[in-house]
């Protein structure tokens, strides 16, 4: 479409350096959101109506003017078209603000900054779609910063909160999710952004449990490149970021064993997530989140269409 950049140009827009120089989170998040939307548009079938969202089966009370006769002819059922305003989601962005999220390698942004960026981009996209989006954080306890609403100023409020996030405290994801589950009266999409490190016992199970309650849960598992690659070479004293534990080791000698342990950890989380229908994405902080976010949103869009 006119104004749309070709796919191969997207990378220029989301060059991490460019993004890093974009300044405020709101701008960065918008850049990412635009990129995501662009990706989403490209992923839809050619010729579909922008306004048309999806179908739903006719039920008494529906406006008959919206009956889709072609669908009727095809499926011998009454379907009415559902438009954008009839398929809005309720979503909650749940961001881990524990101390471990404050880790950064080199000159990159911290995991928390990256989580805020992803959360901000998602907030952009969802609010543009008219979905109700909220923001909650957790460290040692759950903190609902912005309740999920679809109103003017919602995005602004979310971004402001995201900009003020500071990493502190220990992680108690299980407590946070249990609290959240009790307070969730309506079905909503919960997007969790966490490194899940030092998440405490039962964290992964808590995520799986939430998913089993028929809530949509998406887990963006954020890890720093240092945590993923363990590039350390020397004898090093590694110091915990959430408590007073530290250990001195020959980093090169332990690397292989660490990476094996990391692989086991990630596999366990992924397996638990998939087993409970939790959508799982592993993200490397500092990298381009577009693809992962796009995949998530496209999947959500198709699910929404099938619900009409």
């Amino acid at each position: 479409m006119p104004g749309e950049e070709p796919l191969e140009d997207r990378a220029r827009v989301l060059d991490p350096k460019v993004l890093a120089e974009a300044g405020a989170l709101s701008l960065k998040a918008r850049i990412v959101a635009d990129s995501v939307l662009h990706g989403m548009h490209r992923s839809r079938h050619h010729g579909s109506s922008v306004e048309f969202a999806d179908h739903k089966e006719y039920s008494p009370g529906d406006n008959v003017r919206h009956l889709d006769w072609r669908a009727y002819a095809r499926f011998d059922r009454d379907y009415v078209k559902r438009f954008e305003d009839e398929s809005h989601l309720r979503g909650l962005l749940l961001v881990d603000t524990s101390a471990s999220m404050g880790y950064r390698s080199g000159q990159r942004s911290t995991k928390l900054d990256y989580a805020a960026l992803c959360a901000g981009a998602l907030a952009h996209v969802l609010t543009r779609q008219g979905d109700a989006v909220g923001l909650a954080t957790f460290a040692d306890q759950l903190d609902i910063r912005v309740p999920a609403r679809a109103r003017r100023g919602q995005l602004q409020e979310i971004v402001e909160h995201l900009e003020r996030l500071e990493p502190r405290g220990t992680t108690s994801l299980r407590l946070a999710l249990d609290t959240l589950a009790e307070s969730m009266s309506r079905r909503m999409i919960t997007v969790i952004m966490s490194d899940l490190l030092d998440a405490g016992e039962g964290a992964v199970e808590a995520i799986a449990k939430l998913g089993a309650r028929r809530h949509d849960v998406v887990l963006f598992h954020l890890l720093d490149p240092d945590e993923l690659d363990f590039p350390f070479e020397e004898s090093t004293v590694f110091v915990s970021m959430e408590d007073d534990r530290e250990v001195q080791i020959d980093a090169r000698a332990i690397r292989k064993a660490y990476l094996e342990e990391l692989e086991r950890f990630v596999a366990r989380v992924r397996s638990a997530a998939q087993g409970s229908r939790v959508e799982y994405h592993l993200l490397r902080s500092g990298s381009d989140p577009t693809e992962a976010l796009t995949q998530f949103l496209v999947r959500r869009a198709s699910m929404r269409a099938s619900a009409r």
């Binding site: 101390a99 471990s100 999220m101 880790y103 995991k111 490194d195 490190l197 030092d198 890890l223 720093d224 240092d226 945590e227 690659d229 590039p231 350390f232 020397e234 004898s235 090093t236 004293v237 590694f238 110091v239 915990s240 970021m241 959430e242 534990r245 530290e246 250990v247 001195q248 080791i249 090169r252 000698a253 332990i254 690397r255 292989k256 064993a257 660490y258 990476l259 094996e260 342990e261 990391l262 950890f265």
Partner: protein
């Protein structure tokens, strides 16, 4: 263990370096905040056990690596303190004494002989000498010899000399060879004076006790500095039960009685020796063979125990009289050379005896020859019975070539024509015995047989006839060296000397003739005497051969006396056993009278000729080259080609002492050779002495090389321990 360059051990301090580096590393680690600390701790826990071992091994390898270099540079050496001290004091001189005695020819279990082992060990010593070291060999035989004459630094020359050395058949005392070796170490190679900085005498031997009997002299300078003595048992790797040997220690050949004149009894004494301390009373059969010039004469077996002595008598009857060389051989064992012994059988011939009865009688007991014939009849199986005739029958009897011995038994006189015949008989090799009787015509005998009589007859003396004279005379002063009387030991002499004689011939005191008095009466008058005449001899018994004048015929000694007199006259008396000639000892040989040229031929065919100026006035020569056991032949002649002299042949045998292969402990041997034992004879039970230890000929260059290999391996091992894997 000692070190040739001990100062290099200071390098061991470098072993501290890895520890210091390790500690340094520990003090300066980087601090890194890390969010995935839980993952890190779990991975550490997982590999902790492996890590602990790796850390320890790593540190150990590094320490080992740092130690290996200075240890190698310090050149460790396993050996005796004295040897090491010598080695560390600069150029050494070494006298390598190689035991060349008979026992070193033994090979146990079919392996190399002890001498070959000693040569191999000597080669090893030479090859490990330093460029400035000097050495020589001493071959320990009965007459030790130096090879070369002075210590040499040329390994090539030394090894060439070594190849020439051979073991001997000698019975050897090691002390003289060791002393010779120490003496040789006094003189530098360039002929200058002064003792070397380090002198060692290395003895390569089987340490058999028989060769270590006295102390050696080891001083190498005026101050009395002693050379270091190192003993090596070249058979140390053998079990004690393997070191055993049997050998023939003695062979005696005597005429056998009752089986004819050619019969001999060969008595063989066999000894067994073993180094094992267990019970070895059980005997096992060993083959034994008697061999003569024609081949095997007897083959049988004898039961021999590993530790003990056994006698075995073998009998054989020779058909020809004379000297028969024989050898006795046992089934060979580890030491073959002592399983053969050489001897000579003196095979008697049958003598034909004619007895002329001077007083025949119809009553046998009255006959002059009754006791004589009875005595000869007792040994009839060994010799033919004599023919007895009367004096009247003598004229009709052929003498020459028919008889070997004639006895005029109390014959008062005989036909004058018989006088020349008797003279001719004796002159041509016959033997004549004349016994006295009453009525013997002394003038007749003097005129007819005066030339062959040992002394002229004077007249018969009857004791008691003259007032104041004793009634009887006993015998005295037997000439035991004479073959006739050599068998009369002290007990037998009693039966001879107690004979009572009351009548005997008085003889002229003629000293011109070479008469030998074998027996005398108490008053000094000869009772039995002989004299040579031509190629024969004549003997006179100055009393009667019957009981008329003496009771000698009824004495127990009469039988062996009269038989030996006749055998002697017939030259059929067995030669008394000759003193044994042991390998290395000289042999004095009596040549026949008038010999001007002589030759001695050894067992290998080598001969030694003697010129007249090498013979003594009485025809004696001394033969010294008895280095090889076996039969030695003597030839002599007045001129021209020497002819065999059977009577002079002799045998050389190995010393039976070399059969005893039991070794001394090194401590005992060292004590004896150094003179620190109260008894110079071995083996003895000695108090514990400072252990010198077995010579360990370990290459001093080898250990440093091994240590450097260890260093390389330790580095390789460390690399493996610290190997990095590629990134995930």
């Amino acid at each position: 263990m000692s070190f040739q360059s001990p100062w290099m051990l200071a390098g061991l301090a470098a072993a501290l370096l890895p520890i210091i580096i390790h500690l340094i590393h520990r003090r300066r680690p980087r601090r890194q905040p890390f969010a995935a600390i839980e993952l890190l701790l779990r991975s550490i826990e997982r590999v902790e056990r492996r890590w602990r071992l790796r850390r320890i091994l790593l540190l150990a390898m590094r320490i080992l690596a740092m130690c290996a270099l200075p240890l190698a540079a310090a050149r460790p050496w396993f050996g005796t303190p004295a040897a090491v001290a010598a080695m560390s004091q600069g150029p050494r001189r070494v006298a390598i004494v190689i035991d060349g005695s008979l026992s070193m020819r033994a090979h146990y279990g079919g392996r190399a002989t002890a001498f070959d082992r000693a040569v191999a060990a000597a080669r090893g010593v030479v090859e490990k000498l330093g460029p400035e070291d000097q050495a020589l060999f001493v071959l320990a035989t009965d007459k030790p010899r130096l090879f070369p004459a002075r210590p040499s630094a040329s390994k090539g020359a030394l090894l060439a000399e070594l190849e020439k050395l051979k073991p001997s058949f000698d019975y050897v005392d090691l002390a003289p060879a060791i002393t010779m070796g120490a003496e040789a170490l006094k003189k530098p190679e360039d002929g200058g004076e002064g003792a070397p900085s380090a002198a060692t005498v290395v003895v390569l031997s089987d340490l058999a006790g028989h060769g270590i009997r006295r102390a050696a002299e080891l001083s190498i300078d005026e101050a009395g500095t002693q050379a270091t003595l190192e003993l090596v048992d070249v058979l140390a790797d053998l079990k004690s039960a393997e070191r055993q040997n049997h050998g023939i220690s003695d062979v005696t050949v005597l005429p056998a009685t009752g089986r004819g004149p050619g019969a001999v009894d060969v008595t063989v004494k066999i000894r067994g020796f073993t180094a094992d301390k267990g019970d070895h009373s059980a005997a096992k059969p060993v083959d034994i063979t008697l061999r003569g010039a024609e081949g095997d004469l007897y083959a049988g077996s004898v039961d021999v125990s590993a530790s003990g002595v056994v006698d075995k008598t073998l009998g054989h009857s020779f058909t020809a009289a004379g000297y028969a060389p024989i050898q006795v051989a046992l089934e060979p064992d580890a030491l073959v050379e002592d399983d053969v012994r050489y001897a000579v059988a003196d095979v008697r011939r049958a003598i034909r005896t004619l007895v002329v009865d001077g007083s025949p009688s119809g009553v046998p007991k009255e006959s002059e020859t009754f006791y004589l014939v009875a005595a000869l009849a007792a040994g009839a199986s060994d010799q033919p019975a004599p023919r007895v005739i009367t004096a009247d029958d003598l004229a009709r009897e052929d003498l020459a070539g028919v008889y070997d011995v004639i006895v005029l038994a109390g014959v008062p006189a005989f036909a004058p024509a018989d006088g020349p015949r008797l003279l001719s008989f004796v002159e041509n090799g016959g033997g004549l015995l004349i016994s006295a009787t009453e009525g013997l015509d002394v003038d007749f005998y003097n005129s007819e047989l005066g030339r062959l009589l040992p002394r002229g007859f004077r007249g018969l003396k009857i004791l008691g006839d003259v007032a104041g004279s004793s009634a009887v005379q006993n015998l005295k002063e037997p000439l035991l060296e004479h073959p006739v009387l050599s068998v009369f030991d002290e007990a037998a002499q009693g039966g001879l000397l107690s004979a009572r004689t009351h009548g005997y011939l008085l003889l002229e005191p003629d000293r011109k003739k070479a008469a030998t008095v074998l027996l005398s009466f108490e008053d000094g008058q000869p009772a039995l005497l002989e004299a040579p005449y031509g190629r024969g001899r004549a003997m006179v018994l100055t009393t009667s051969i019957d009981r008329d004048l003496s009771d000698l015929p009824i004495r127990p000694a009469f039988l062996p006396l009269i038989r030996r007199i006749l055998l002697h006259l017939g030259d059929a008396l067995a030669r008394p056993p000759e003193p044994e000639v042991v390998v290395g000892e000289p042999r004095t040989i009596q040549l026949p009278a008038g010999s001007q040229v002589a030759e001695v031929v050894g067992p290998t065919g080598n001969s030694r000729r003697y010129a007249p100026d090498e013979m003594s006035r009485d025809g004696l020569i001394v033969f010294e080259d008895t280095s090889i056991p076996g039969h030695y032949q003597v030839r002599a002649a007045a001129h021209g080609t020497p002819e065999p002299v059977a009577a002079a042949a002799f045998t050389v045998n190995v010393s039976p002492k070399e059969s005893d292969v039991r070794p001394l402990e090194i401590e005992e041997a060292q004590a004896v050779l150094l003179g620190t034992s109260p008894s110079a004879r071995a083996p003895t039970t000695l108090a514990a002495l400072a252990r010198i230890g077995k010579q360990s000929i370990m290459d001093p260059e080898l250990l440093p090389a091994l240590l450097l290999v260890l260093l390389a391996l330790s580095f390789a091992f460390e690399s493996a321990l610290t190997a990095r894997r590629p990134g995930a």
